[in-house]
Amino acid sequence: MAIMLKEVDAVCIGVGFTGSILARELTKAGLKVVGLERGANRTTREDFALPSVRDDLKYAVRQELFQDTQLETVSLRHTPAETALPIRRLGSFLPGVGVGGAGTHWNGVTWRLLPSDHNLRTHLTNRYGKNAIPAEMTIEDFPVSYDELEPYYDRFEKLLGVSGKAGNLRGQKIDGGNVFEGPRQNEYPNKPLAMSMAGAIMEKAARELGYHPFRAPAANMSAAYTNPEGVTLGACEYCGHCERFGCEANAKSSPQSCILPVLLADDRFELRTHAYVKELVYDRPGKKVKAVRYVDTRSGEEYEQPAGLVVLSAYVFNNNLLMMQAGIGEQYDPVTGRGALGRNYCYQVSGGNVTVFFEDKIINPFMAAGASFGMNIDDFNGDNFDHSGLGFFGGAWISAGTSNGRPIQTRPVPPGTPRWGREWKKATAKWYNHAFNIGASCCNYAHRENYLDLDPTYRDALGRPLVRMTYNFHDNDYKVSEYMGGVLGRIARAMNPSAMSAPTARRGNYNVVPYQSTHNTGGTITGANPKTSVVNRYLQAWEADNLFVMGASVFPQNASYNPTGVVGALAYYAAEAITTRYIRRPGPLVRA
């Protein structure tokens, strides 16, 4: 029997970026909030200290900061006809665990969506005709437009102290920024990072080709920064240990470096670590989540924590799992198209890649910041180019640069080089400091057959079914990737390298082994229609009005951009609706 606890105003399930933001906003509004974190506490001083924070094997390879698949993983099959098998070792994506979540070990790329990413279905229909979108492409509009979300993007960027340069300031296009971005009310809070050699080469080549190079927005501090919470972040040391690592300098934005210092100092917030949420206690007739049951992983004791308000701020898969188990919404069925829960699971098609080699240029790849430390172009992103006759929709952000030179994983050699032996040694020694990648991060538009549900066979450490992913790349993905391969080749040749690899495009089945991105999205998507979405525009569950769902699980599809900027903006947007409207008059914020 679970031990019953006294009711609190609100619980946040997961204390990463969105859990911290919601807890902060709710406590500021006077609520008593409990943060339930399945993992341990993590602090910069204890956990991210020099010299051991630079341990490449421990963090990057043995996956110290990531979810432990011994406890919990997901299963995968490529089509609904197959039997899914568990992802036994993390590879393709790396969810976080512990206080700070994946926000401790991300690279820091902080995008806004394009305005046309927000109203994707409407935009494409208006531009290409009402029959242009294939039936199996189940893309939707975000119910919140770019203009509506703009102030919240701004707020999240200011929390993080994002380094960058505006390309569209209140409608005025600015060379050197991203001229394709939606209008911004304000410049980035921090100036761009230092320039890398790879970025300089990319900038020149892109300009020669008539493209519009700019610096990717980076949650790596170009200079020390004090955010509106009064928390000060340090200046980036360009250590080349962002992704997969914590930051000893508090120079990468994370819950620890941006918000936890003020949240943890607030008596209205209580952090419970080792509190592994097992299930939601759902009152179906009342359309409320009455309580949250969790296991204290130190003792095995089970607790039931009643709460007036429940914020589901776990990673994509746990958001889905907890809602599916409780039956909050109808499970999506790819055959009938009925049900919304689990629908429109998407990922990132990150297959495009070219490596360029320069005999006479020194790259110093180990001096780098995480957020694609180089130069980007958005000329082939979203609907920034005409798709008439191309046979696909969407695009990619294209970037050339270096994020690290850690040699267990980063050792570029020209095509045809053996993987070992004397020739490999020669080539590795020769090219290590003379090469970098140009890559394309492609969108992944929803497909009727890509979805999440519960696995019938495999279970996690709490005895719950694993989330089962039915997922593969489809025609649109292969075509976007193929097209971007052509663009990458063009850019690479314009750089006039001593050698280059053939541009790769995504072919074949989705493979869980090589890292691609931790940009899993969907399953509890936001929308205007309760039949095809799980949460409304305020991220409030249609079927439980005191349940608010954070994170990329609410994305109707995945644009090409890294999701964190959008996740943060939506968290602030939802928080405002909760604090200004919901807590005064609890109930549905949108009429179904």
Binding site: P51, R54, T69, Q70, G91, M367, P407, I408, A429, V513
Partner: protein, 235 residues
């Protein structure tokens, strides 16, 4: 390592045979008197945590073929890579940390990743057995007894998935062997490999502390000339 040298395992075996042979009045085989030069002094100085003598001989021969001695670096085992692998397989990684191990374990397509019931320690045990069985069938000897040229050819055959293994493909074993070898060559020296930062020196990776706020401007387009340092230098 050169082909006529005697691996450690055979030294031990030879020593015992030699003892028996001497007792029987026969002359001791040369092997009994030769130093175990296949496991060079540096690598051999480290006691083994989990690898058997046969497995260690295989690993030494393999890492010395994957990372041969030349002007760029000492051999893999001289750089401590065999020690690294022994320690990794004896520790949490070898025992299956961060590996979901619930069955069933049906045969799977490679895109679904590792699907065997074996933890890495068990996988390497099985893989080395298979590799030696295959070289015995193909070359008449265990892998570590082959000439350098034959070792290269044998590894290439496994890499190309053309060696017959029971239970899993030779490529799968080769890929795991190559991966852990590269980890041992390039990981921080605290784990026993990358001795004297030989892997880092080979490529010009400066290691720690990696605080480049000023150097990123100063060394733009220029070779970074400071010698590498590792975790131990700051501990």
């Amino acid at each position: 390592m050169v082909e006529e040298t005697i691996p450690r395992r055979d030294f031990l075996k030879g020593a015992m045979i030699g003892t028996a042979a001497l007792a029987a009045g026969n002359p001791a085989p040369a092997a009994a008197q030769a130093p175990p030069s296949a496991a060079p002094a540096g690598a051999d100085a480290e006691p083994l945590l989990t690898l058997t003598a046969t497995e260690h001989a295989f690993i030494v021969a393999a890492v010395d073929t994957l990372i041969p001695t030349d002007e760029l670096s000492p051999s893999g085992s001289d750089c401590g890579v065999a020690t690294f692998i022994d320690r990794q397989l004896a520790g949490a990684y070898g025992m299956g940390a961060r590996l979901y191990r619930q069955g069933p374990f049906p045969k799977a397509k490679p895109e679904l990743g590792y699907q065997l019931a074996l933890n890495p320690r068990e996988f390497f045990r099985a893989g080395i057995e298979e590799a030696n069985a295959w070289t015995r069938k193909t070359y008449g000897k265990d892998f570590d007894r082959l000439s350098e040229q034959d070792r290269e050819a044998a590894l290439k055959t496994m890499e190309d998935d053309k060696a017959q293994f029971q239970g899993f493909s030779s490529r799968m074993f080769f890929d795991a062997l190559l991966q852990i070898t590269m980890e041992g060559f390039f990981a921080d020296p605290i784990y026993g490999g990358n001795r004297d930062m030989a892997g880092w020196k080979m490529v010009g990776y400066p290691g720690l502390p990696a605080t480049y706020r000023e150097d990123i401007v100063k060394y733009f387009g220029k070779k970074y000339d400071k010698p590498p340092r590792s975790i131990a230098d700051f501990s």
